[in-house]
Symmetry: C2
Amino acid sequence: MKITIKDVAKAAGVSPSTVSRALHDNPRISEEMRKQIKKIAQEMQFHPNQMARSLVSRRSRIIGVVFPGEVGESMNHSFYPSVLQGLGHVAGARRYHMLLGTGAEGDSIAEAVHQLSDSGYAEGLIVLAAEAVPAAHTAGLPVVTLGHPANAENGYYVDNDNVAAGQAATRYLLERGHKRVALLGYDPQFMVTADRRKGYQQALEQAGLPCREADVVPIRYLENTTDEGKLRSLFERPDRPTGVVCMDDAQAIALCHMLVDMGLSVPGDVSLISFNDTPAGRLNNPPLTSINVDPYQLGQKAMELIIRLVKHPETPPTGLTIPFAIMERDSVRTL
Amino acid sequence: MKITIKDVAKAAGVSPSTVSRALHDNPRISEEMRKQIKKIAQEMQFHPNQMARSLVSRRSRIIGVVFPGEVGESMNHSFYPSVLQGLGHVAGARRYHMLLGTGAEGDSIAEAVHQLSDSGYAEGLIVLAAEAVPAAHTAGLPVVTLGHPANAENGYYVDNDNVAAGQAATRYLLERGHKRVALLGYDPQFMVTADRRKGYQQALEQAGLPCREADVVPIRYLENTTDEGKLRSLFERPDRPTGVVCMDDAQAIALCHMLVDMGLSVPGDVSLISFNDTPAGRLNNPPLTSINVDPYQLGQKAMELIIRLVKHPETPPTGLTIPFAIMERDSVRTL
DNA sequence: CGGAGATGTGCAAACGTTTGTGCTTTTGAT
DNA sequence: ATCAAAAGCACAAACGTTTGCACATCTCCG
């Protein structure tokens, strides 16, 4: 039998309302009464029933979190786990909880969003993919997006400056004497890669170099064995790219294997710079020079923003940008 | 303004109780009335308030999930993301939700557990580490452990048969002619590695081979640069191990690099078999022969078990064991 | 000494559901 | 036609809190 506020009230010889106020540090309760009550509550191991509390206060201290696509899959990127850690730490510190948006197997992200918002538990939503924002907005809850939503002006989001990062990565190679650099892993479906591509092009233009269509290679060239030939042929030509910026460490690693297989050396013949600075990238031979996008901080900021938002719904639309850093390792050679 | 059951009742010209029963398919409501009410509720976009519902029904459809140590860190293992996926899929299918146990930065796992159970939201707990079980039990909630808890007899858990897996891995090498095989990554702190070691020894004994203390190398030999020397020296001796079973793909990859660095080839000079069958292991050169422990299924079973448990608390203690599979690839040579 | 203002506490309503009980109407058997 | 049982529904209490309001006591000033 759970003990209630009434039990505490009885034990303390006061009314439930007094107990409630004392526990909330309401100034209308005298100092000593408050201490007294708190002590008794402690001894009785009283834990207020959240359901009842939330029912009347209309606050749950719960933030819904929805992951893109198949949760586990995206998690493997090692990007989301860090985000999750960031989210968790500030949630924990502010005594908030995270409710995971899950769907049954094969459910779309929109379904996960609905399951979450229909549940009625969450006060706000954090959506880890700009793609799901439309679904999220119909929920009638405050939403913070991780990543640049389509109409950024009237939304809340935290993101890396992906175009700046794409530009920086490209420039990093150009500054080291590379005249032809390719871009690997472009996928128009995802804003992230689209933005990085934009930065890539800007860097090229600023250096007065042409941006050849053939040099930006779509993600499927890596995943799809029938298309792999096209990728290989790119590096078989005498005027092959001497540098590649890859959208992710995993892609860089795969490319690395392919190049070695072709008899080319990294960074001897071709230099690689990639994104996400993963453990796997650090373990690669050679260790990858990679752009650290600080997913942990991304998570922290997102949680801070959503908490501010549920407390003050009138907060004006806010977009936060997290700085990135180039982790210099051994996959780039200066020509 | 949220719409309530009363609004629906008014619109349908019946009492709230009738609406409630109709929505719950209570047989005391006539077929046509039920349809009628459901249609109206649909049109009005009525979503019952979970707080109120949970308050009286004393069910929240929320399962607390707590991860070991620093969430993000453990996630990188790529093991937990898959577990999470499994958990999520069955939770979603049964219309349950997962509440994440988070603590502030630096909080222990026990604190995370308490934060979760004190919240009063969760009906049951899934603990992804046998280590946290004691803390979890004081919570007064049903608990399912992922991994073998210390006193397995009176607990609920799902786990791999780690000793069998350790035995199988070792035997796999022995059957291929290896006479001296080492065990890498032993850490007495963790039951998993302890169990696998047990299996390793059994396999050795059954083959009539000695189990040398020097051949089971602790995890820190890999992580700690000062101890790495000891690891190297093991492979510098003429009677070096020709096979190694590693506790995790990541360790195998690191070892692989070290061996190559020493001028030894994998699997030419030394064969490697490891656990967890990760993407990184598949990408390694050579692709790792690894034991797949099916974390996805682990997650599924755990969620199924906890849901059964919260519905029928009198369920007798249950221990589930998930089968494993050896994924044969190219890191083992037959002598 | 009377009353105004503080100060501390209790009462009861409200939050939005679920559910036991009892009331009315219909049905079918006699 | 009469009555019992069944069917369909409404009433109201309950779940455990929070909070506006009223009430009681105490202090202090004129």
